[in-house]
Symmetry: C2
Subunit: 328 residues, 2 copies
């Protein structure tokens, strides 16, 4: 049987078209971002929007909460949608909102987006002071209820401390090795070594700013990078986290980068000359192109079992052990 | 086997002492009020407080969501706590919050407290205009997700329209027949007839203002009233909803009555001379006294099966068919 296919990060401008493309690409589960800078009540509004989509398209999607929901998705020909935050703003200053959010189905939370948060330091700050006092308490609470610590946008020391402090494996849902492409959002060897040594997962990003050569990166380059990473850290800790932002207007990347925290314009990984979303590589336009990656992995020399793991089964094992309460 | 024992309304000043008294009284499930006038975020804070109690006293209480949780409570010697609102304030002006609240475990919502709400008219208003436009939409949404319409504090026309409009049986969780004691909060024959004809449930209140003779009402009077009501409407539609407000300071009854809607003082069922909580009758001080009611029902001539129903099994059947989604 084909592996379960999982994408560990997307933030598309959701529509029936995209849900149908998930089915075309055989994608059984997607971790979707439901908050960048939104506070609690605003993030609840985003859940409400998802609840309306679940009601409108019950034959295409449903709200996923457990690893078994990925299996149910496969069995029923649908895609399980898992909620996550790219910033801890939805818990505001209230640690008890971690459990409330777990009850509402959130399964991933980044301790920071690009900036300092109440919990840790983002990868664009000048100084990284590691986990804050509240950060340590919130990691313990996330461990207790079964919400995954995601450090995709965090700075190195904060990430290393989260790996060390967390009693359960953490994730970097969408980034690539900095040794391959030294983007600020890509991850150092030290981080990837500590992450995978602790049983954590890396999701390879297909966002052009994270790719060597950007939009022109070839499928072969991408899959060779995966092969090199597998050799260094172990194939079982690796999966896909595409960071696909399909059909979003450029105003959305401006919101991601600027939220409500600045009056000057922040261009993040872009620049004044190139402020918008970069075009996707031709071999990964959207969810329909997941089979291209599986083919590229064959050419990169992976075995069928390894490809099954990379395309989703590694994430599925991680989902199985991450989303339940620590008491079992 | 003894019936499952259910109290369909309490709003105590919760403590370990009270949770232990629930066990002493053999109470398997309690519907607890988590909002009087609180808006969405404030009510979430109340859930957070309950989550801390569930974590602190896992051997005494847990969060109930289904009828089977009442059975689990009995099997494990604990009390299942079901959440409900006495006012629709926790959904504010947002119908999609009904589903959010169901996800967070709320299972009952009154369409009004004493005043006009966005949904219907409360029993203290001069004019009752029935269900509002939003009220009809919200009843349909509550029917869809499995949240019980509770009309305990609503005016007659609004209650009759809710019974008529709701596709699923509704409840009056805590009130007595006005024919027995004509308090404003007690219910007319027309309402009780329509309620029970549609399969709905009445929970008998032990709040002194709802009792003939108030605090001095005897157990025999109370149980004779139950017998008369059973004869008129059918014993299977009846249970207990004690309205127990144990250990609350009088500031809480002031909050219940006044919320943030008035600058003058409203005394509700009390008066300037008698503004506080009235003392409970000696035979129903708190959860430990549920066995007294069961004994009183024997003396009132009920059969063992009927007593099982009145003490909780009627509510349990209602829970079984009310808390799941309408799609099954």
């Amino acid at each position: 049987m084909m592996a379960h296919r999982i994408d560990a990060l997307q933030y598309a401008n959701w529509s029936e078209k995209i849900f149908r493309q998930m089915r075309e690409g055989g994608v059984d589960a997607v971790h979707v971002t439901i908050a960048y800078h939104e506070v609690f009540r605003e993030t609840v509004l985003n859940v409400e929007a998802w609840n309306r989509w679940f009601q409108a398209y019950p034959d295409l999607i449903f709200h996923g909460r457990t690893g078994d929901d990925v299996r149910l998705a496969r069995e029923t020909g649908r895609t399980a949608i898992f909620f996550g935050f790219q910033n801890p703003s939805p818990i505001e200053d209230d640690i008890d909102l971690v459990e409330i959010w777990h009850q509402l189905g959130a399964r991933f939370m980044q301790l920071t987006y690009n900036n300092q948060s109440l919990l840790a330091t983002g990868c664009y700050e000048d100084d990284d002071t590691g986990l804050t006092r509240m950060g340590r308490q919130v990691v313990a609470e996330m461990n207790r209820v079964g919400m995954v610590v995601d450090m995709s946008h965090s700075a190195d020391r904060s990430t290393l401390e989260a790996i060390e402090y967390s009693s359960r494996p953490i994730a970097i849902t969408h980034a690539n090795p900095a040794d391959w492409h030294p983007a600020r959002r890509n991850k150092s060897h030290d981080v990837l070594k500590a992450l995978t040594d602790a049983g954590g997962m890396l999701g390879f990003s297909l966002y052009p700013h994270h790719l060597k050569g950007g939009t022109d990166c070839t499928l072969a380059d991408f899959c060779t990078m995966i092969a090199d990473t597998a050799e260094r850290y172990g194939v079982e800790y690796l999966g896909i986290g595409s960071d696909l932002c399909q059909d979003q207007p450029d105003s959305v990347v401006t919101w991601m980068r600027n939220g409500r925290w600045t009056k000057a314009m922040d261009f993040g990984e872009g620049s004044a000359d190139n402020p918008g979303f970069p075009p996707q590589p031709g071999w990964f336009r959207d969810n329909r192109d997941f089979p291209n990656i599986a083919e590229g992995l064959i050419d990169a020399g992976f075995s069928p079992d390894e490809i099954d793991g990379l395309m989703g089964d590694n994430w599925l094992r991680f989902f199985d052990r991450s989303f339940g309460s620590a008491d079992g």
